[in-house]
């Protein structure tokens, strides 16, 4: 008997859980400041608040620019704001959205818009209509301008002429223009970030090219076979780092490039450099910004061998950690004063030669967000341990893709 009761309880429990979750979600969605309306004092204050609130609601769609979709979504709010019978938003060619009555005037309005769209000046005119009791007889046009260029027009229609409406439509059009300007600004900011990432895109250091060629040259007579192999490694590595398409690569490809790089470095330093690797095969398909680990390895090689003649050891590990891959690059070299490192990462001072940690750190932050920058543990004489956390999935990040839109 108790089995049945507990079974029933469990069933109720399982049934209630999703309901609770849905309720919680709904509650959070609907918890808008609207309910604080009752606390407002005078009717004037109330009206002010209402207007501001409507304006705020109309703003977000317009921030994505003037398209049919955004116009449709904002037109409703804008009509509420103006209190007219009909309102429409147009671009140069057509009516993007018509909100309210009298939609049969679409074509007529577009015909009459030529002038205002050309001059960028507002206008008001009577509408001609065959329908006897047509609710809209008169229209006011207010152009939408961004940086002195006309992008479209806001048209408010009313049954009769009204000076107030002319003024109000002008103000609303100016407000919409500001939103569109902000949208423009957003776009240029995205472009700027893209350009920045493109500029940041790592390039192999000239020193490395000179050194590699010198090493290869030194083998040409003594060990031609080795020289040939190294030349091929060099070709592979440069092909990878000079490739043009895509801003992302897979961990497997990046590790291959590091392999070629290390082959060249070891040809130069011989036994002085030893490297261990621990790579979980599960994380090899992870996508990451192009050439963002190789600079870290280059850095480790440099620090590991700097100012010493005995052996240096570098370890590279890539672990599987649930939804992300954990890449750790560690050397036992001279290390660095943490304060110096902080200044380098902040971009206040540039490290001597090579493309530094700050470049990689910045790109990781751009792509994955600020909490996915490099974590570096170091002290003078204590080596350096660099940890990068790469999420297995990030919207917009795939091997052939461009930079994700912010």
């Amino acid at each position: 008997m108790s089995g049945e009761v507990s079974g029933f309880l469990a069933g109720v429990f399982v049934a209630v859980l999703p309901l609770l979750a849905a309720g919680f979600w709904l509650g959070r969605r609907t918890a808008r400041p609207r309910n604080s309306l009752g606390g407002l004092g005078t009717p004037v204050e109330h009206a002010t608040f209402q207007t501001l609130h409507t304006a705020t609601l109309a703003a977000p769609p317009l921030r994505a620019g003037l398209t049919e979709e955004t116009a449709r979504r904002s037109a409703k709010r804008l009509r509420t704001l103006l209190g007219t019978d009909a309102l429409c938003l147009t671009d140069h060619e057509s009516v993007l959205a018509w909100e309210g009555v009298g939609e049969h005037h679409r074509a007529e309005i577009m015909e009459r818009l030529g002038g205002p769209l050309e001059t960028g000046r507002g206008e008001a005119f009577r509408l001609t209509c065959d329908i006897i009791d047509c609710p809209v007889r008169w229209a006011v046009v207010a152009p939408l301008t961004v940086d002195d260029r006309v992008h479209g027009a806001l048209v408010a229609c009313a049954p009769r002429e009204s000076a107030v409406l002319v003024r109000a439509a002008g103000e609303v059009a100016r407000w919409v223009s500001v939103q569109l300007e902000l949208a423009d600004l957003d776009q240029s900011r995205t472009r700027l970030i893209e350009a920045e990432i493109k500029a940041l895109r790592a390039q192999i250091s000239p020193h490395f090219i000179f050194n590699s060629l010198a090493v290869i040259a030194s083998f040409v007579r003594t060990d031609p076979e080795r020289a040939r192999e190294l030349l091929l490694e060099f070709a592979d590595f440069t092909r990878y780092s000079f490739r043009r398409h895509g801003d992302f690569t897979t961990l497997a490809d990046e590790l291959h490039a590091i392999d070629h790089y290390l082959a060249l470095v070891r040809a130069r330093f011989g036994d002085r450099l030893s490297v261990t690797l621990q790579i979980a095969p599960e994380v090899l398909p992870v996508t990451l910004p192009f050439l963002c680990l190789q600079p870290l390895v280059e850095n480790a090689v440099k620090h590991g061998l700097e100012g010493r003649t005995d052996k240096s050891h570098i370890s590279i590990t890539a672990q599987d950690a649930g939804a992300e891959a954990l890449v750790v690059i560690e050397d036992d070299g001279v290390g660095m004063e943490p304060e110096v490192l902080r200044r380098i990462l902040a971009g206040e001072s540039s490290p001597s030669g090579g493309i530094g940690l700050s470049n990689v750190d910045e790109r990781l932050r751009q792509v994955y967000g600020d909490d996915r920058g490099l974590v570096i543990e170091t002290a003078v004489g204590a080596g350096m341990k660099i940890t990068a956390r790469l999420p297995k999935y990030q919207p917009g990040v795939h091997p052939d893709g461009g930079i994700p839109r912010a």
Partner: protein, 581 residues
């Protein structure tokens, strides 16, 4: 059962799992082996890992139990569990891999660019994961109970603690190797005893009447009833009773029971003689295992069978721990090859549980009476072979069973904890992942204490039904239909998955027990899957303006082989866009 060998075997599996999970296979390589180290996981290894994670308590114990109680009808379970991968292979595997998504919520976001749909998918991952974890814990409890007479909850708690400890202590390192090993362990643990059992069966003269209705005892057997049950007798039965039947005490007396339902109190011992038919516990009122869903099946066998087929065929693609494994494949073609190998490996495995079920019907038919049918696999070696050999084989099976619980439970816990950490709990970080792990395990553990009634294979079937009604439409339409919109996807998942979830909850609560409604609720897939597809299509068609702008590019990436992509995708996308105009 003699537990001299079984307990060490289980302990060995547990310790090995903890050890490998905590320390991983620490293989350090020097640069000369760089190429080897950076080689991706091959289809065969990955397929063994997927199979290892997939073959759960339901496969290892449940199928044999159901075949034992209900006969060959239940073979649809292994067929469905395997065929699910065929559907996955045909419609989902390669595009899913090419989408770059790691989890199902990732896929929803990649395809529909909507945080809301992502969260909804996350909620269903948690729901399906919990439903699937529940029978794993129950199976562990049952196994330990059969082996050592430990209380039913102990096995579940052990599995929960071990899984939480390994997952929270830094995840399962080298998880692919561990899971692949688990597959071969499970296969061995069923295959070797099965060979011996078949030999013993041959030595016994190879009786072939396993599925002659009804089953009968092959020798004199004493059955102890642990839980009070109602026996429904189709024909009169003469049996020696010591205990209470229908409220009257009998002391080792031979009595005749007429046709009808008889209540047998717990602790009663029934002694059957050779040739007696095996009575079956009444489905509706018995509180033990192997009950409730069978009632619906008996009334509407055709409906129930199709419901099961649809749920298992379409549900596999939505199992969170299976999807995650596909990320390990280096590209879409490898994902397809992996699925083909999975089909082979799983197909081979599923030949074995029905053997146990059939032999169980011959040699341990009393399990159907006491409601411990799920234990058939564990008890058969002892019953048929006995002695040291039987004990050793029993220990092997027990070890394999625990491997099944641990591998599936850890995979599911990782998937659920990942979603909880990423999409539900507020901030990110390692500590939160631990919290997510504990939460992922605590809820099914608590529920397993409350819900005792379902056989493991049926409970897993319910998880499949929810998955088939929520993720199957999302994946299939998301990959193959360009007009899918975020509101459509959200509505479809809510309506289909939500109604399936409610039906499952009602079934688990034992409501309404019998009748057509019960059949509908116990096998929801047949109506909830079409409902989900229909909702998704209709709502998407009603919101044409909401089709994500990037859809052509995304679908091109899903369907084009990787070699073509990279520089050329954009041209292809442009062509598609032109073509659409």
């Amino acid at each position: 059962m003699n537990d001299t060998y079984a307990v060490p075997a289980v302990a060995l599996v547990v310790v090995a799992t903890v050890f490998v999970g905590a320390f991983g296979l620490r293989i350090s390589r020097t640069t000369s082996d760089f190429y080897v180290a950076s080689r991706t996981v091959g289809p065969r290894l990955n397929a063994a890992a997927i199979s290892g994670e997939y073959l759960s308590a339901a496969s290892f114990l449940g199928i044999a139990g159901l075949v034992l109680v209900q006969g060959p009808d239940m073979l649809w379970y292994p067929v469905g569990y395997t065929a699910g991968y065929l559907v996955l292979l045909l419609f989902v595997a390669a595009p899913l891999r090419r989408s770059g998504a790691y989890t199902l919520p990732d896929f929803a976001e990649a395809r529909l660019a909507s945080k809301t749909v992502r969260r909804l998918a996350g909620a269903f991952v948690v729901g399906v994961g919990w439903l699937y974890l529940l029978p794993q814990l129950q199976g562990a409890g049952l196994t330990l109970n059969v082996l050592t007479d430990a209380p039913e909850w102990l096995g579940g708690v052990i599995v929960a603690v071990v899984v939480c400890a390994t997952v929270a202590a830094g995840g399962m390192r080298s998880i692919t190797f561990v899971q692949a090993f688990q597959y071969w362990l499970k296969l061995t643990a069923l295959l070797v005893p099965a060979l011996f059992l078949v030999l013993a069966w041959q030595g016994d003269g190879g009786p072939r009447h396993a599925f002659d209705e009804p089953a009968e005892f092959r020798e004199q057997r004493v059955v102890r009833v642990d839980e009070t049950v109602d026996l429904k007798l189709a024909s009169p039965l003469t049996v020696t009773v010591s205990g209470t039947i229908d409220g009257r005490r009998h002391d080792d007396r031979r009595i005749d029971l007429p046709v009808g339902t008889h209540r047998i109190d717990r602790g009663t011992r029934l002694t059957f003689t050779k040739g007696d038919t095996v009575p079956v516990a009444d489905r509706a009122t018995n509180g033990g295992m192997s009950t409730s869903l069978a009632a619906g099946r008996e009334e509407r066998p055709l409906y129930a069978t199709y419901g099961l087929i649809l749920a298992t065929f379409l549900g596999t693609m939505g199992l969170p721990h299976v999807v995650v494994r596909f990320y390990t494949s280096p590209h879409g073609v490898a994902a397809r090859r992996t699925t083909v190998v999975v089909l082979g490996l799983i197909g081979a495995f599923y030949l074995l549980p029905p053997v146990y079920g059939a032999l169980g019907r011959l040699y341990a038919p009393d399990l159907a009476l006491t409601g411990d049918a799920d234990a058939a696999v564990l008890l058969l070696p002892d019953r048929m072979i006995g002695g040291l050999g039987g004990d050793l084989l029993g220990a092997l099976v027990a070890g394999g069973a625990f491997a099944a619980f641990l591998s599936t439970a850890s995979g599911l816990t990782m998937a659920v904890a990942g979603v909880l950490t990423q999409d539900v709990l507020p901030a990110r970080g390692v500590r939160h992942f631990r919290l997510g792990t504990v939460l992922a395990m605590a809820v099914p553990l608590a529920a397993s204490g409350l819900v005792g009634g379902l056989p493991v294979a049926d409970a897993v079937g319910l998880a499949f039904a929810v998955s088939a009604s929520s993720f199957c439409p999302l994946l299939v339409l998301g990959i193959w239909w360009r007009r899918l919109t975020p509101p459509g996807a959200a509505a479809g998942m809510l309506v289909g998955g939500g109604s399936a979830l409610l039906a499952v909850a009602a079934t688990m609560a034992g409501y309404p027990g019998t009748g057509t409604l019960h059949a509908l609720l116990a096998w929801p897939a047949l109506w909830s899957v079409p409902l989900a597809f229909l909702t998704m299509v209709l709502v998407s068609l009603a919101t044409p303006g909401k089709v994500p702008a990037e859809t052509p590019a995304i679908l091109a990436r899903f369907h084009l082989p990787e070699e073509l992509v990279g520089g050329r995708t954009r041209a292809a996308t442009k062509e598609i866009e032109l073509w659409r105009r």
